[in-house]
Amino acid sequence: MQPIISINGLVKTFPVGNGFFCALNDVNLKLGTGEFVGLVGPSGSGKTTLLNIIGSLDTPTEGKAEVLGHSIGELTAKESAALRNKDIGFIFQSYNLLPVYTVYENVEFPLLLQKMSADTRRKAIMEALDWVGLTNKEQSRPSQLSGGECQRVAIARAMVKRPAIVLADEPSANLDAKNSHNILQTMRKLNEELQTTFIFATHDEKVMQYLKRIVYLQDGEVERDETVNQPNRNE
C-alpha cells in the first residue's frame, strides 16, 4: 500500500479556560489509495478534529500530518486552499450546499476555482451528476430537494474534480436508512471505480457495514485499527 496520508505523533490541543484540552493525543496512522475507512468512536473522541486536520482546515499542535506529500500546518493559505480544491472533497452532515445556486452550479463551483474549459467542465459535471443519479435535477435549487438528494449533490460536488481523498463527516446523520444506504452504495461504487480514498467520521452502524477499515478513536487516541473482511456490498 502506497500511503497518501501519513500521520505521525499527531497532537491537537485546544485552549480552554486557562488550560488546554487535548482532542488528539499521539495519533499515528497511514492511509493508502483506494481505502474506504471510518474513524469511529464516541462523541468527543476527536473524529472531526482529525478529519479537519487531514483536510487542512485545521493544523496540528504537535507531530506531523502529511497529505499527498504536503505537510499540513506548513502550507500557506493559498497552498492549502489549492490542496482542498484539487485533491480533497468534503461531505458534511448538513450538506452545506450553496442555497442560491442550482444543483448544476453547486457541483460546478469547485471547478470554477480551477482553470478549466467550459466544455471539460460541463462534461465533468454531467458525469458527476450521473454518478449520483441526479442528471434530471440539474436546474433545481437545494431548497427543492430532499435530504438524500442534497447529500447526493454534495457527493457529486466532492467527486466532480476526481480528488484523491474524500472526507465525510457523519454523512448519514441527517438521513433515513434508505437514503443512508443509497449514498453509501454510491460512495462505495466510486471508491471501487475511481480508487478514491474515502475517510468517514461516524458512529452510524449503517456506515460501518460498508467500511473496509475501521479506526477506533477513544479520547483522542487510536484505540484499535482493523481491516474488515466483508463481502462487497456494492451490487
Binding site: 482542498r84 458534511f92 452545506n96 476555482l113
Partner: protein
C-alpha cells in the same frame, strides 16, 4: 470574474433586504445627481447671464475704480488709454460711465447709480437701442427690479438729479423708455441706464469711462496705462464663492444621506457574515482562501451600489430628464443674493459630476463592506463550518 458572478448571485438571492439596500442607495444616488445638477445649472446660468448682461468677456477698469466701494465712483472715470481707442472705435469694447445720482419718484428721494452706455453697443444684452432719441427728452432704461423699487413703468417720467464734472448739481426730467427683464440683479436694482452721449453732455465728462466692457473678439488681456484688466475669474468671483459655499452645504447633505444608505449596507454585511458562517466555511472547504472569501463578501457589499447605480439609471433617468425640462422654482431669497436669478432653475448634469457621484458611492460602499468582511480572513474556519462565530 467568479467572485463577481458569485457575489451577484448571492445578493440577488438575498431577497427583500437586498432590494431595500439597493433602493436606498439608488435613491441617494438620484438625489445626489439631481442636487448637483441643480447647483451646476444654477451656477452656470448665473455665470452665463452675468457675462451676457454685465461683464462681457472681461473689463478694463479705471485705476480708481473698485466695484465694492461706491465712494470710488467720484474719481473713477477718465478717458480710456489711447491704445484702446481702436477697440472702442470698432465696438469690440464699449465704455460704461458710472455716476451717483438721485431720482425723485412721486417726490420721494432715492439714490441710484446712473450708468452711461453706448446706444449702439452689441456686447451686452441691455436693450440700449431704446436709448436713441431725437428730441430733447432723455430716455433711460431700467430693469424690472428697479421698476418695482421706484414704482416706475415704461413711459413714466421722473426727476433725475446729478453732479457734473465740477460737482455742481443739475436736474432734469427723464423718461423710462423701456423696462427690461434680466436675471442679473447687478445691472438692475438701484440703477438706471442712460445713453452715454447724453451723460457726456450732462456732466461734461466727454469720452470718459469708468470701465470698458470687452467682447469675445477683443484681444486685450492685460493692464494698459494703469487701467486694470479684469478677467472673468475676477468678475465672476462672487458666483464662484457662492458655488463653493453651496458645495459645502451639499456635501453635508450627502454625507448624511450616504451615511444612512451605507449604514444599511453595513448592517446587512454584519448580519450576513454572522448568519452565513457555514457558507463561509464551505467556500473555504471547496478551495477558496479565507482572503478570497472576504473579498467575495466585500464584493457583495459593493455590488449593492453597482445595482443601485443601475436601478437609479432605470428610474432616475426619466425623472432627471423630466426635471431638466420643468426646472425648479427658486425661492425668492436667492433673488437678493446679488447675482443671477432665474424664475426656474434648470439642472445641468455633467458626466464628470455623475461619475464622481458613482465613484463616491461605489468606493464608500466597498470600504463599508470590507470592514466587516476582513474579519473572515482571520476567522477560525472550523468554527465557521460548525456555524458558530468566534
Amino acid at each position: 470574474m467568479l467572485l463577481l458572478r458569485t457575489a451577484f448571485k448571492n445578493i440577488l438571492g438575498g431577497g427583500k433586504r437586498t432590494w431595500l439596500n439597493v433602493t436606498v442607495l439608488s435613491f441617494t444616488f438620484v438625489i445626489m445627481v439631481a442636487y448637483n445638477g441643480i447647483l451646476d445649472g444654477f451656477l452656470e446660468e448665473a455665470r452665463r447671464e452675468t457675462q451676457r448682461w454685465e461683464t462681457g468677456a472681461g473689463q478694463i477698469q479705471h485705476p480708481e475704480y473698485d466695484r465694492y466701494d461706491m465712494f470710488t465712483l467720484q474719481d473713477a472715470h477718465g478717458v480710456a488709454p489711447l491704445s484702446l481707442q481702436t477697440y472702442l472705435a470698432d465696438k469690440s469694447m464699449t465704455p460704461i460711465l458710472i455716476l451717483q445720482a438721485a431720482i425723485y419718484p412721486q417726490g420721494r428721494f432715492q439714490n441710484i447709480l446712473l450708468k452711461g452706455i453706448d446706444a449702439g453697443q452689441n456686447i451686452l444684452e441691455l436693450p440700449t437701442a431704446k436709448l436713441r432719441h431725437t428730441g430733447t427728452e432723455i430716455p433711460v432704461i431700467i430693469g424690472q427690479r428697479m421698476a418695482g423699487l421706484a414704482d416706475l413703468k415704461e413711459g413714466d417720467r421722473v426727476m433725475l438729479r446729478w453732479r457734473d464734472k465740477q460737482g455742481v448739481f443739475d436736474a432734469q426730467e427723464i423718461v423710462i423708455a423701456a423696462v427690461f427683464k434680466t436675471k442679473t440683479t447687478t445691472v438692475d436694482a438701484g440703477q438706471m441706464w442712460i445713453n452715454i452721449t447724453d451723460l457726456y453732455a450732462m456732466t461734461g465728462m466727454q469720452d470718459e469711462a469708468t470701465y470698458l466692457v470687452k467682447s469675445e473678439n477683443c484681444p486685450v488681456v492685460s493692464d494698459i496705462d494703469n487701467w486694470s484688466y479684469k478677467d472673468l475669474k475676477y468678475l465672476l468671483a462672487d458666483i464662484d464663492l457662492m458655488a463653493k459655499s453651496n458645495q459645502t452645504e451639499s456635501f453635508i447633505i450627502f454625507a448624511i444621506l450616504l451615511a444612512i444608505a451605507l449604514l444599511a449596507v453595513f448592517d446587512t454585511q454584519m448580519l450576513s457574515i454572522f448568519r452565513r458562517q457555514k457558507e463561509i466555511g464551505t467556500y473555504v472547504a471547496l478551495g477558496m482562501t479565507p482572503k478570497r472569501v472576504s473579498g467575495l463578501f466585500t464584493l457583495e457589499g459593493t455590488s449593492y451600489s453597482i445595482l443601485a447605480v443601475l436601478m437609479a439609471a432605470v428610474w432616475g433617468t426619466p425623472l432627471l430628464y423630466l426635471f431638466a425640462q420643468t426646472g425648479m422654482k427658486m425661492p425668492e431669497v436667492y433673488a437678493d443674493m446679488g447675482m443671477g436669478m432665474s424664475d426656474a432653475i434648470y439642472p445641468a448634469y455633467h458626466v464628470s459630476s455623475i461619475m464622481t457621484s458613482i465613484i463616491v458611492i461605489v468606493v464608500l460602499s466597498a470600504i463599508i463592506s470590507y470592514l466587516p468582511a476582513r474579519r473572515i480572513a482571520k476567522q477560525n474556519i472550523v468554527f465557521a463550518l460548525k456555524g458558530k462565530i468566534n
